[in-house]
Symmetry: C2
Subunit: 372 residues, 2 copies
Amino acid sequence: MSGTATQTAATPREASAVEEAVSWTRVGPRVEELLAEFCASQRAAAPLGRARDLWDHLVRSLEGGKRVRPQLACLAYTSFEGESGGACAAVGAAFELLHAALLLHDDVIDRDFVRRGRPNVAGIYREDGLSRGLTPPEAGHLGASVAIIAGDLLLTGSFRMLEGATPMPAVRDRLAALFHRAIADAAAGELADVLLSHGAGMSAGAGGSVDDVLEMERLKTAVYSFEAPLRAGAILAGAAPGVVDAVGRVGTLIGVAYQVIDDVLGTFGDERQTGKPTTSDLREGKLTVLTAFARENPLVARHLAQEFGGGDGHEPTRLREILDKAGARGHALNLAHALVTEALDEARRAELPPALRSELTRICNHVLHRES
Amino acid sequence: MSGTATQTAATPREASAVEEAVSWTRVGPRVEELLAEFCASQRAAAPLGRARDLWDHLVRSLEGGKRVRPQLACLAYTSFEGESGGACAAVGAAFELLHAALLLHDDVIDRDFVRRGRPNVAGIYREDGLSRGLTPPEAGHLGASVAIIAGDLLLTGSFRMLEGATPMPAVRDRLAALFHRAIADAAAGELADVLLSHGAGMSAGAGGSVDDVLEMERLKTAVYSFEAPLRAGAILAGAAPGVVDAVGRVGTLIGVAYQVIDDVLGTFGDERQTGKPTTSDLREGKLTVLTAFARENPLVARHLAQEFGGGDGHEPTRLREILDKAGARGHALNLAHALVTEALDEARRAELPPALRSELTRICNHVLHRES
């Protein structure tokens, strides 16, 4: 609750003072506090020692994220002259809890036991099981089971955090509707990812085109990570519906570009910087923009079918070679560039505030040139 | 929404008229409508054909339940003269969505692909994977992955349903806090179940006593299935906090008794009536009240260790024999009887309304004598 905020509409000069008062410098630490307070209260209320142990692991799993979603919510909020740093931080923290919940379940689905270079929750409990003499499959199932439960706890937590963000019923209802749709989209995107990776296609048809992958990536990640946090910040600041929609469209485009670059880094990136083995996507037979593009070339598709068709033991290095020769990397980079250009065009057309546009430009540059 | 409700406090005669108006006969069909409407709207808004297919399966998985939780919410609500059948139905539907979500994730954790005698969501997608040539482990993982996503969708849906139940902020906040705690308890109970079944114990100690199992069953099921729905109905009807607590305590005791009988039916029941193989608990090496009791007898424990220790391929029939000879069934039935007696004593001490007490007595008799 900014000290400079008043009940009456702010004049441009006052708004500028408010804008300085509510900034990421102030909101960021509050997000960390809210997350820490939430985990501490959940841990204190947990009815069993084992549940308290799990919260200790969850606290650590929440640390060290880039806080992309809270930052985007804060950016939109300050751009539209929102006046309550506390409400903005709570909405950001809700998205961060949602993100952590979805990552936990995504890791179970991808059978990943490592996140950011260290064991994730499933990995911690798998190691514990192994140390107590469980067989590797049993220990893996134990780890996955705990991660499913942990994801449910954080998903529940995200709603709790969102409910407390603002006392204004109309704003709260709009935020809740946005949040629910973002989760429904993330679920649909995850489902498409699972089915595409298992060759079942996205719709009644076979699926697996570059467009199918882009739509999957939009739903699975771009909506809840870019579009919805930007929209939420704008809604919370009282922006007009048309402006909220424009901000959302820009967020979608940047978010999809981010995922395309993620695919490139996942296959061609520097493991030491990304913290993720470049063989992971290829090993799981995941359909990415790169593999989808390569499959659209009949000659390359035949090569790929031979490699992918064998079930276990895809040869990641060989696959990477095929993708590189087919020009998949260059195609993906062009695609990301085009998406980002479209995003900035949209921001200009919608006449978003100059400060917001300049910050979006900076984000777009980062998305295109990041190495981790 | 009751036609007979007025803004002023009801006189006893009016209250009785209201009580007749808001009854399960009226609330039950409204719960079904709300669930059907919710699924239809989610299906219509789903962004992909595959997500719409999943909602079709979820609609069917929601059909045919006993609606225990909505009935308990309605019972408490009408006993304390609540006047809005619509609000009561929405709260009941929220618990039903929560229940379905937790079952989906519980089945993944238990590696069950059948529920109520037919394939559950995981089973449906596993069969689909098998029919498309996936290996059994890959098809099983595909099924589990979709069930994790489906559980997240229904968990999210339960919050959506609860948010819309009542426009009164104070009541909504109390219901939300209750709902969140019920989920945290269910998660802690599920965690304890997973760790006990893998021999990791419930607390820093080894765990696995009858008391540990009873506490696990209280948390995992009794809270969200009995205590919380009864409390929710009482809160929604405006009952005093002390009364809400008393109703909650009664619910807990009945809920734990229900679970004890569930353990008995899971091992000694009639498969044709329970719809669940009596070998399922024993095959998974699940710790139940029965196995915990048997393990507390050193001689029996040695027998059991030999059978349980071998990893795969527990011999269910042999285990059932050991449990029966050890008197585990009789002990469990006595336990359930004692819990139910305590519940009805508590209802009397708290001077709950006679109509509520008589209905709770009927429920207790059903819990003790049910065969499915």
